[in-house]
Symmetry: C2
Subunit: 354 residues, 2 copies
């Protein structure tokens, strides 16, 4: 490494090297350390307005049309899990990021990093599953790339998908549009994905089968946007870091407070039990088929009804509201009535969950 | 793995499992096995016209404008090498793929897969280098993603970039446009990137420093397109698999023959020497700042002059022609006058070169 060390004379790394000399698992966990990496390292380096919006994707205006552009790498372990696999997840993750920008997907890219020795049949199954997932939302996989690394330099298969989407007129989704009085909804029960993956990985047996919620949200999102598009202020899929981290980010970006009602947040019984056994708070566990919608109060009832009419929203609920108090913070009224601050995820709760 | 095995009842993997039970390094080498993976596994699964064009990127028509969309994952080892690093390479690779579609880059995504334990300073340097490379071609990095895998499940840092570009009117680049009589040009000497990386990796010492040619080709490409856009039929950057594999692909896609003149192909003296020592044919070695242009004969002189006027084309040369004979094949007239078939790369010549 002496080669580049001797040449480099620019500014020094803004992450305190004494505290974080190396990359840690928690830097990829979607919580506080991920945020530090983004805010101190990536944002100052890549500085540009599209990136600084800190959206699930970038919104670009090209020749008068608004495009959404998003990327996600999938490193989930195991590759196949109850309710999905790395292939379907890689499609759902990126089409959902586009939907969270209010965009209809136009095309996906697929970049494979394969480890030498991966069973060819595993690649085949993952690819078939990607295609089935892409076909279900009617978006083609239009371009791709495959790299192979030596045995021991990867872990079976990593997939990156990037996505391109088109934002219809009248839709304007942005975290900064959350404002006091807005209502916070979710389309169903939380923590299903993370707990399903963890239970397979740890070899846990539960009475009820735990299944990932991995699903494409494009259709349910557009059933809402087509109806009350302008009243939908923020959309966010609470993946890594869970509902707590996603709402903390929104509160910080919009400079508002958010208040949750614990009793209103749907959590499946089996998932709640598994969380207790694993010592996990469902608020921090990843979802792959859920989205938070923050909407004007006048539209809340219609949005809830539309969600519940959709197969992916039958357990939809109003779970909280945006408030002017405690800007930048997420608070939750607990079952027994107390109000407590719900912080971002700190540390790494569930590595390799997506 | 019993979970997914028991559920799966669809068609079987089209790669002959008896011959290739697992993924091999050569499947990522850009040669024959990569082609087999694409043709037998990816294309039938993802079937759609944009992908089937087998371009360096997809060309999509959205609301009346033509967009190019491309992706590449970078797994190069070592991360820092003479003439570049994984960060600059990740930008050059994708902006070059867009340029090869005749598109001006609009925005890039960056997906990082980091291995736990990566020195934070290496990440910082790579990010700074990405940004410098992006700024040099005036394209913002608008969206990103970071994943961290456990120590031993990755190899320092992998970067995926996807790119979005806009194709101006009048430009129509496609391998299928190569036709007999067309002239084949290259903007300079071949094999510089692959040999520079190999020499560092193998700890070889040569009298002359060997430096990667990693560079953004957008400017030199558009200096040609702005002048004789409609006469430019095919553009291709000969990365993995080198000039030989790129021209074989074009010959197959267009159903034409291509004939090269060995004496006209620029190869640096030091690179030629290193190739002899390493037992490599420069025609198969990766380039990261070179492109092949196949142009109508009436435009060849102007294209050559424009290339030579540009800093990235001073050693540009006419190296061959498209012929009606031997469709689908690349032939080369050697120094001593004989004509021989130049096949695609078979096997893995240089792993982890990009």
């Amino acid at each position: 490494m002496s080669h580049h060390m001797s040449e480099y004379t620019g500014p020094q790394c803004p992450i305190p090297i004494s505290d974080y000399p190396t990359v840690m698992l928690a830097h990829g966990g979607g919580g506080r350390l991920t945020q530090m990496l983004i805010e101190r390292l990536f944002l100052p380096a890549f500085a540009n307005p599209a990136l600084e919006a800190l959206h699930d994707g970038a919104i670009l205006e090209v020749n008068g049309i608004r495009l959404a552009f998003s990327t996600d790498s999938f490193t989930i372990s195991p590759l196949f899990f109850p309710g999905g696999d790395i292939g379907s997840l890689a499609v759902h993750g990126t089409v959902n990021d586009l939907a969270m920008c209010g965009a209809r997907p136009v095309g996906l890219s697929a970049g494979f990093i394969l480890e030498e020795g991966l069973p060819m049949d595993d690649l085949w199954r993952a690819v078939q599953s990607m295609q089935a997932a892409a076909q279900a939302v009617d978006v083609p996989i239009v371009t791709g790339d495959t790299k192979v690394v030596e045995r021991g330099s990867g872990d079976g298969m990593f997939i990156n998908t990037a996505g391109l989407g088109l934002i219809p007129e009248g839709v304007c989704i942005s975290a900064t549009r959350a404002r006091p009085g807005d209502v916070v909804l979710i389309n169903g029960s939380i923590a299903d994905h993370g707990i399903a993956v963890m239970s397979v990985r740890e070899g846990l047996e539960f009475e009820t089968a735990l299944t990932s919620d991995s699903a494409p949200l494009v259709d349910v999102v557009f059933s809402i946007l087509d109806q009350v598009g302008e009243q939908v202020h923020v959309l966010r899929d609470p993946t890594r870091g869970g509902v707590a981290s996603a709402l903390n980010e929104i509160a910080a970006q919009a400079g508002v407070g958010i208040r949750l009602e614990e009793t209103r947040i749907p959590v499946g019984e089996a998932v709640r039990g598994a969380c207790e056994i694993l010592g996990l708070d469902p608020l921090y566990v990843a979802n792959e088929g859920k989205f938070l919608a923050i909407v004007g109060p006048e539209a809340a009832e219609a949005v809830l009804a539309t969600m519940r009419d959709h197969p992916l929203g039958q357990q939809a609920a109003v779970i909280g509201e945006v408030v002017a108090d405690h800007p930048g913070k997420l608070l939750m009224r607990s079952r027994i009535g107390g109000l407590r601050v719900v912080d971002m995820l700190s540390g790494e709760q569930l590595p390799r969950i997506c």
